[in-house]
Amino acid sequence: MAQESHKWGMVIDIDRCTGCNACVIACQSENNIPINLEAHFNQRRAIQWIRIERYWEGEFPNVKARFIPIICQHCGNAPCEPVCPVYATYHNNEGLNVQVYNRCVGTRFCANGCPYHVRFFNFWEPEWPESLKNQLNPDVTVRSRGIMEKCTFCVQRIRRATRLADRDSVELEDGDRALNPACVNSCATNGLIFGDWNDPDSQINQIKNKEMQEGGRAFGLLENLGTSPNVIYLKQVDESAEGHHGH
């Protein structure tokens, strides 16, 4: 990783996702996301910076569950960014779509613009039980009510890793667990891979080069909208469909 500027990105291998939700919990505790109660889900106001969308396929008894983890795609051409009247969301020079909580007035225009529905609004003041107050991450702002929030690729971890690397005059290491977002570290099947698109040797670039070729599994989520996401997905390898499609 010798290059000056970074362009952070992720590869999500749907084939490896078991739908265990470990990434959701890891994200929740890393980023001070308030606890989602049943009522929040019923109101459709649960906050999950990464979520596992579950789709059922087939008729009983031959039912299959399909999972797809969805996070902010950190789009290169993000629909949420130009519509914010107060620059609360903008693209930084490391390819991240960042949210500045202090600027946000809560028009929710950005959330309407996002085709992935990964922007979340704080409808209530967040609350934690007394026993959990000491587990809050001191590196992450606790968001008040009335503002938007979203996945940051754990920017606090990127910042700390960069700072420590600078201090020790070493280079950031691809796949370093101190650099990886919490969801990536927690994935038991290595279904999430984090890295730098600007580093030609990074793991995500190697996967991309391989899977973007003819017959590869890579695709961008809703890329027909022209959002140029920084996250690429790898299709599920469907063994039961082998006979039909001849893979």
């Binding site: 109101q43 459709r44 028009t107």
Partner: protein, 470 residues
């Protein structure tokens, strides 16, 4: 040509100032009732600020709801002012005279009502000044001019300032009459200050007329800009089916004129019934505004049709899913049906008949229907699109308004009605000087064997004038 009731200046003054100089019995109860609704609405807003937007029915992905639909509705109503006063003034439509002020005042109050809702709907209303004013405060950062939300406050603000100036310029001669006729010293002093020393000299009249015409012309670009900017709040988003439409600008403007002019016709009926203005607002005036409405409504319907054709033309599955939602399941399908029937199918055929056009009751009924329909139109544009019938079916959403939202939306209606009532108590709702000017210009002229009333600004050859009239 317009029906003709020639009144003397004194009759005009007496009749049009009657409700200002005396207190009608119904006035106080009506004002108190409306004020109670307004106070309830503001209390609901206070409750919402205290507890957070969780008290609304909003959720993910339906982040905008009743408030934004209501905002678009009131901006639409506000287009009546310019349509009636500016465009009809510049095109010299005589029938505009008695209704210009009511339309302009309705513009003022509906703009104020429109400004309620977006400011109420943000997450942190105490911070909106960062957004509304193009000033960097201490943040060292200017508002984002790429966002339509920066242009909304500037467009609406410009419109509000221009409309206020328009109302004031047209009020000055009437304020002078009120100053002369006020009974006690305090009101006399207030009117004397407000009329800016207007004494009716030739120079003052000239300035007043020039200012009126200039403002009419200058306000025309705003006529186009305000609702186009509002439509851009929706059309700019690429990922929201049903909003991403290049036709939204003109479609919103013509829809605004449709609901706005309808609201003026409604006001005309109300002012005949409540203020007894039947000597000024005659069946001919209803006839004229209904004919204007037929054109506007049909143009609007054409745009509505085009919007559907262009949306369906692409045959994209999310677009089709959205359209199915709009016309299909409860409550969207029935609401859609009500919207089409009330805003076009019932009123326009009725307006085709001269008998119905000339009836205040029928016009009141049909224009109320139009505005119910047009409110639903905005509701059906805002919410079903946000329910996100997109490929990610896991996130398909739903929305129903909470009591707090309903109270605040009701408050905006009471606010406009209350504002109009208070205004009409202090200032004449029919422009007196404008009526007098109309009466002066009116002559009975002879065309062939018929004697017809006509409005003539310049002199005509002598034999045109009917001798009995002089």
């Amino acid at each position: 040509m317009l029906e003709h009731t020639q009144l003397t200046d004194k009759e005009l003054n007496d009749e049009l100032l009657r409700d200002i100089l005396t207190m009608p019995k119904w006035w106080l109860p009506a004002v108190l009732f409306l004020a109670a609704i307004v106070i309830t609405g503001y209390s609901a807003f206070g409750y919402m600020v205290f507890n957070g937007l969780g008290v609304t029915g909003l959720n993910r992905p339906v982040f905008w709801g009743f408030f934004i639909a209501n905002f678009v509705f009131w901006i639409g109503i506000s287009h009546a002012g310019i349509m009636i006063s500016a465009i009809l003034r510049l095109t010299q439509a005589e029938w505009r005279r008695p209704i210009t002020r009511a339309a302009e005042v309705m513009t003022l109050f509906s703009l104020a009502a429109a400004l309620h809702t977006p400011l109420f709907h943000v997450g942190r209303p105490w911070r909106v000044f960062y957004w509304i004013f193009p000033y960097d405060f201490s943040r060292g950062i200017w508002p984002n001019v790429k966002s339509p939300f920066v242009w909304d406050p500037s467009a609406v603000g410009t419109y509000l300032i221009a409309s206020t100036l328009f109302v004031i310029v047209c009020l000055i001669p009437d304020l002078a009459i009120l100053r002369d006729r006020a009974k006690n010293k305090i009101t006399k002093f207030i009117y004397a200050q407000l009329c800016l020393g207007f004494r009716g000299t030739t120079r003052q009249w000239k300035l007043q007329i020039v200012a009126g015409i200039l403002l009419s012309a200058l306000v025309l670009p705003i006529f186009v800009s305000v609702h186009t900017v509002v439509s851009w709040d929706f059309a700019v988003l690429i990922g929201t089916e049903g909003w991403r439409s290049t036709i939204f600008g003109p479609y919103f403007i013509i829809g605004a004129v449709h609901s706005g002019v309808s609201a003026v016709a409604m006001l005309m009926a109300l002012s005949v019934w409540i203020y007894g203005l039947q000597n000024y607002i005659k069946p001919d005036h209803f006839d004229a505004i209904a004919r204007l409405l037929i054109v506007v409504a049909t143009t609007w319907f054409f745009f509505f049709f085009l919007e559907w054709v262009w949306a369906m033309f692409t045959l994209e599955s999310p677009e089709i899913a959205l359209r199915e939602l709009q016309v299909g399941p409860w409550p969207w399908g029935p609401l859609f049906l009500i919207f089409v029937i009330t805003s076009f199918v019932i009123p326009v055929p009725l307006w085709m008949f001269r008998r119905f056009r000339r009836s205040a009751a029928i016009m009141f009924f049909t224009t109320i229907l139009v505005n119910i329909g047009m409110w639903l139109e905005r509701f059906l544009i805002v919410i079903p699109s946000l329910m996100r019938r997109s490929h990610l079916t896991f996130d398909w959403g739903s929305y129903s308004p909470s009591l707090i939202e309903i109270l605040i939306v009701t408050e905006t209606f009471a606010f406009v009605a209350l504002g109009m009532l208070l205004f009409a108590k202090a200032f004449p709702l029919v422009p007196i000087f404008d009526m007098k000017e109309g009466m002066r210009n009116r002559h009975l002229i002879k065309v062939g064997r018929r004697v017809i009333p006509a409005t003539i600004r310049e002199g005509l050859p002598h034999h045109y004038y009917n001798k009995e009239h002089h």
